[in-house]
Structure formats: C-alpha cells, structure tokens
Symmetry: C2
Subunit: 160 residues, 2 copies
DNA sequence: ACCTGAACACCGTTCAAGT
DNA sequence: ACCTGAACACCGTTCAAGT
C-alpha cells in the first residue's frame, strides 16, 4: 500500500488523498471505490501494521519481560505519529474508535496474561495491566533515553 | 475568548477560524491581526486553561496525594479532546511542541516535589515521576470507572 | 466491476484597501 | 492601530459518465 508509506513518512493529516492516489498510480476518486473514506483507509493501514508487529512478537517469546516490553515500545515509537493520530481521531471518529477499542482489548489481554505468568497475584492483575499499558504509551509518546526507559519499566516490574 | 468555548464544545480541528470569528463578532481576517495562525490561537487558549487549573490546585494543598491526583485527572479529562490534540500537534507544529515541553517541565517538577514530600527516596524520584505522569495521561485518555482509576493510583503509590 | 473528470462545499491564510 | 472583502491554494468527498 502506498498509503502506509506516506502515513509513515509525513503523517496521516499531511497526507492528502490526492498524494495517496498519485502514489498508487490512480485518480483520487478511485480510492473511494476501495475505501469508504480517509479514516477507513487509515484503519486498513493500522490493521496491516498490527499484523506485522504481532508476527514479529511471535519470534521473541524467549526474551525477558522487560526486554519484550522494550521491543514493543520500540516498534510503537517507530509509528509514534500514527499512535497520536489514532488517539486524536478516536475521540471524533466512530470508525477509528472501534479499531482503537479492539486494539486495546487485544493488547491488554496479552499483557495481563504475561503478568500472570510473571506471578502477579490475580487481584492485582487488572490495575497492573492498566498501569503497564499507560507506561508503554507514555514511553512511546515522550522521548527518553534508553536508560530512562529501562528505569521506568524496571520500576514498573517491582509493583505488586 | 470565544475560541476556548468552541474548542471545548466541538474540538480544535472541528473549529473553523470562521466560526471563531463569528463567535467573537468579527471577520475571519481580524483574528490574524491578534494571532499569527490557528496554532498560536490554540496556545493562547491552553495558557488560559492552565492558569485556571493551577489556581484551582492552590486551593487544595490539604487533600491526600491520591485525592489530589484524582482531582488533576478529572480536570484534564474535562479537556480530553484538547489533550490529545496537543499530543498530535506537538509532533508536527513547533509552536505547540514548545508549549507542550514547557507544560511537562512544569508539571513534572510539581509531581516530583510531591513525591519527595511523600518520602520517595531521591534516586527513585525521576522514574517514579515519569510513571506517575504516564499514569495520569493514561487515565485521562482511557475512560475507566472511578474505582478502577483509584485502583491504578493506589497501585502507583505502592511503588518504591 | 473498476476507474475517471468535473464539480461541491469547505478550509486556513494572505493581501491590498479602508478607517 | 485595527478591521474588512475578495481572493488563493488546498482539502475530502460526490456524482454522473465511461469501459
């Protein structure tokens, strides 16, 4: 998809439907035959990126929990522009809100399962999961050195 | 300011300069005599809201730390739309990025000071501050019940 | 089924002109 | 110093028409 490259390069808002069309070698109107609107196009790109990331995650079941989280933070940081775009759009676009909710349902469940296997007592799992998700999102959105990032994740892993 | 009400009501992106002008009883062009562009107008609104919130915070130095954080989360949640707008714009607008950085410098310092007075050991203060900021932002951006919000903040206050 | 050209309503911003 | 009307370049989207 040409849209994915453009979204990554200049961001969703700065990407015009005209430039997507140009990249795909068609006319602007053609895109509307495949996608209902620009937000639906975004969701298609998001699904594609998510599938890639999940595949990459499958190859690293062996690493330590903190290393695993660091890897996830790195992948999301590469798409930082899209992450904040999704947050902003979810507040006013039902299309994007649906995707965002499904995304969190999936990722929250994955993190919760990981915490259980790390021995976090069951009653603490929900709140710890949320704090973990918030920490990951925070690390993605605010640039810190790797040492600072590690410090936050290590601190998080002492919670219980 | 008419812009503040409109931003709160329908959001920054959905607020046209024409509607701001209408609300202020002037012409669109007039706004550009007072503000360089739409983003500068946003920053003026943000400054205004921040000043209000800081004043309100001064009246509650007595409450417990968790209550204080809950209050901050409530105020930010009221402006949730603007919060995600700022995050999204900070990535592509130097004007908004400057404000965002200054905002975090201020709020991070305030939280760090609070943590010290709660007895958090000095070497843990930076990472704990970051985790606290991330938790607040997460609570603002993801709707949870008050009980769930409290659980996250209580969990956070066990960290050290 | 797939793609286009032309148009629509709107946007932020500018500029020359007025008082 | 303050405000305006008219214009500019652009935007996402639609629609009737073509193959």
């Amino acid at each position: 998809m040409a849209a994915a490259d453009l979204f990554a390069a200049v961001g969703y808002e700065a990407t015009s439907m005209a430039s997507v069309a140009r990249g795909a070698g068609v006319t602007t109107t053609t895109i509307y035959w495949y996608f209902e609107d620009k937000e639906t196009l975004l969701v298609a790109v998001l699904d594609h990126l998510l599938q890639e990331t999940l595949a990459g995650l499958g190859d690293r079941d062996d690493e330590s929990p903190v290393d695993l989280l660091m890897w996830v933070v790195d992948r999301l940081t590469e798409q930082r522009r899209l992450v904040s775009t999704v947050h902003a759009l979810a507040g006013r676009s039902p299309t994007v809100a649906v995707w965002h909710d499904a995304f969190h349902e999936l990722t929250d469940a994955m993190l919760a399962e990981g915490l259980r296997q790390e021995g976090v007592p069951e009653p603490l799992v929900p709140a710890t999961t949320r704090l973990g998700v918030f920490a990951i999102e925070g690390l993605v959105m605010h640039p810190l050195s790797r040492a600072e990032q590690r410090a936050v994740l290590e601190l998080l892993s002492t919670v219980r």
